[in-house]
């Protein structure tokens, strides 16, 4: 692998007695799309919270673009070029869709924010709800809006946490096209997904998590044949 864009080493996070993330290590190369799958509670979202600085790890290091960002605040990490969405959409509820997009650019390219917001509303088919307050939007529209907010900042690495959940199939295709298009122009993605078909068609490489650990990684065909993965998803064969 060439110089990694993101390197995670020995990452560990506990909540009381629960070990949510336990010694996770992996690397992501520039322009890769890496999928993260695993059962509920396997530590995927906690991993995102650690990388984006929302949570501070108990142990381990996070290296982004050659810089050790472990323990940095979320806004510092964001400014360095990592964008993320949340599993439960974290839109700005009292603001309109339009203001949500503009707000995302207050610490970025503010001068071109209206132009960019205009493009993204069209791209994500949110034109019609431009002046609608975000908490009146449907769950799927909130997901789209959150993606739009991340794209306002042009991050180098984007963490998508179940971004297509609850999104209409047509719009889901739109979202995936956007992701592929951005990757071609240089963006890297880490994607948490439960939809295996989507993982198979979108991701170059997949990490499988269970009980806070990465139990397998590789292409879709490789992990699908991995005995630990089968066990994590289906349980042990009764002999």
């Amino acid at each position: 692998m060439s110089t990694p864009l993101l390197a995670v080493e020995g990452l560990r996070k506990t909540f009381g007695g629960i070990v949510a993330v336990n010694g996770v290590r992996f690397q992501v190369a520039p322009q890769e799309i890496v999928g993260i799958i695993g059962p509920n509670g396997s530590g995927k979202s906690t991993l995102f919270n650690l990388i984006s600085g929302v949570l501070r790890p108990d142990a381990g290091r996070i290296i982004f673009r050659g810089q050790d960002i472990t323990g940095w605040k979320p806004h510092q990490i964001a400014r360095l070029g990592i964008g993320r969405t949340f599993q439960i959409p974290a839109v700005f509820t009292t603001m309109t869709a339009w203001d949500n997009l503009l707000t995302a650019a207050v610490e970025a390219d503010w001068a071109h924010a209206p132009q960019r917001a205009e493009q993204l509303l069209a791209l994500l088919t949110l034109d019609a709800v431009r002046d609608v307050r975000a908490n009146s939007l449907s769950g799927g529209q909130q997901k789209l809006l959150e993606l739009g907010r991340v794209l306002m900042r042009n991050p180098t690495l984007i963490l998508l946490d179940e971004v297509t959940a609850g999104v209409h199939p047509t719009l889901r295709t739109v979202m995936l096209d956007v992701v592929r298009e951005l990757r071609r122009s240089g963006t890297t993605f880490l994607v948490i997904e439960h939809d295996m078909e989507l993982v198979r068609t979108l991701c170059d490489r997949i990490l499988v998590m269970d009980f806070g650990e990465v139990i397998a990684s590789g292409t879709f065909a490789e992990i699908a044949a991995h005995p630990d993965v089968i066990e994590a998803y289906l349980g042990r064969r009764v002999s």
């Binding site: 929302v54 949340f86 439960i88 700005f92 603001m95 203001d99 207050v106 610490e107 970025a108």
Partner: protein, 329 residues
């Protein structure tokens, strides 16, 4: 003639009325008008932190009192400063103290922040009761300047400056977007690059400084201050309720809330000689507003954007493990 012309005409007429008011109304009406601008300014200052950033402060009486006591102490015999000097010192002192208090307390959210700021205000109140420099419970007397017109214009000017500043900062600049983002979802704001700690502190200091400025003008106007008159918690309560009644997080909400509440207050006073009934009515009004008019009186105006700040201030279901996340900061 378009609607814009009509509006411009009305605004101009309103301005003329306000500027000429002291020359054609009696002293009683003038004092009421002065009081309205005082409270409109205070409620607006509180709204910066409470309505825009979503941090409900119950400690603003402390900043009002700090401004008032700065005037009382510095304009007294010992220092003999002119009013302008005392005002500047009071505003600066409130700003510095707000920064010191805000640094630890702005990490708390919801009820915890409200309780911490309330405790701070109680502390300042008790200090003023026992310190020699504040005159203790006996209070301080300021050099009297019996010029009601001047105080009317001071309060009017203060209110105009406050609303002008808030309009530019909160409705027409990035600072306003940052504050609203913090109110709606602080973690999301952080992950979009907003330094929430810094922005909250800036808002708190600004809010405290404006509150102190009005405290200083008030002390000079009333010429006698003691801990109960400028540091009591009901001063904060008034600011909170005025902003709430007018419309939390709306620029003009506090002005509308302040004007209507102050007028009702004076009316009850003139009818019954005390304001007990007013407080009872107030309680009912607050309950009704929270239940049926969450955007306050301002939302009765057609085409007002419904913000539903009250709902945004509730627990944040959209934040994953919020307690853990906050523990980590």
């Amino acid at each position: 003639m378009t609607w814009a012309h009509v509006r411009r005409g009305l605004a101009l007429a309103g301005l003329l009325v306000l500027l000429s008011l002291p020359f054609w109304v009696n002293a009683y009406i003038l004092r009421i008008a002065t009081g309205i601008f005082l409270w409109a300014g205070l409620a607006c200052a509180w709204n910066i932190v409470g309505g825009y950033a979503g941090y409900i402060s119950f400690g603003h009486s402390a900043f009002f009192g700090i401004g008032a006591y700065a005037a009382g102490i510095l304009m007294g015999e010992r220092f003999g400063l002119p009013f302008a000097g005392a005002l500047v010192v009071g505003v600066a002192a409130a700003g510095v103290i707000a920064a010191l208090i805000g640094w630890p307390t702005l990490r708390l959210r919801g009820a915890y922040f409200a309780i911490a700021t309330w405790a701070f205000a109680e502390m300042v109140l008790q200090l003023a009761n026992v310190l020699r420099i504040t005159g203790g419970t006996a209070g301080l007397t300021l050099p009297p300047l019996l010029d009601e017109r001047l105080f009317y214009f001071l309060m009017l000017g203060g209110a105009v400056l406050t609303y002008g500043l808030c309009f530019v900062l909160l409705e027409r600049s990035r600072f306003g977007y940052r504050l609203k983002a913090i109110r709606d979802n602080e973690i999301a704001a952080e992950t979009l690059g907003i330094d929430t700690t810094r922005v909250k502190l800036q808002a708190f200091v600004l809010s405290a400084a404006i509150t102190a400025a009005f405290g200083a003008i008030y002390a000079y106007w009333i010429t006698f201050i003691n801990p109960t008159s400028v540091l009591a918690g009901d001063i904060t309560d008034q600011m909170v309720v005025m902003a709430l009644l007018g419309g939390l997080g709306h620029l003009w909400g506090p002005a509308i809330g302040a004007a209507s509440m102050y007028l009702v207050n004076r009316l009850f006073w003139s009818l019954w000689g005390n304001t007990t009934a007013y407080i009872v009515v107030l309680g009912v009004v607050i309950a009704l507003v929270v239940l049926f008019l969450p955007d306050g009186l301002v939302s009765l105006w057609p085409r007002t954007r419904r913000l539903q700040v009250l709902r945004a201030l509730g627990p944040h279901p959209q934040q994953e493990r919020p307690t853990v996340a906050e523990e980590q900061r």
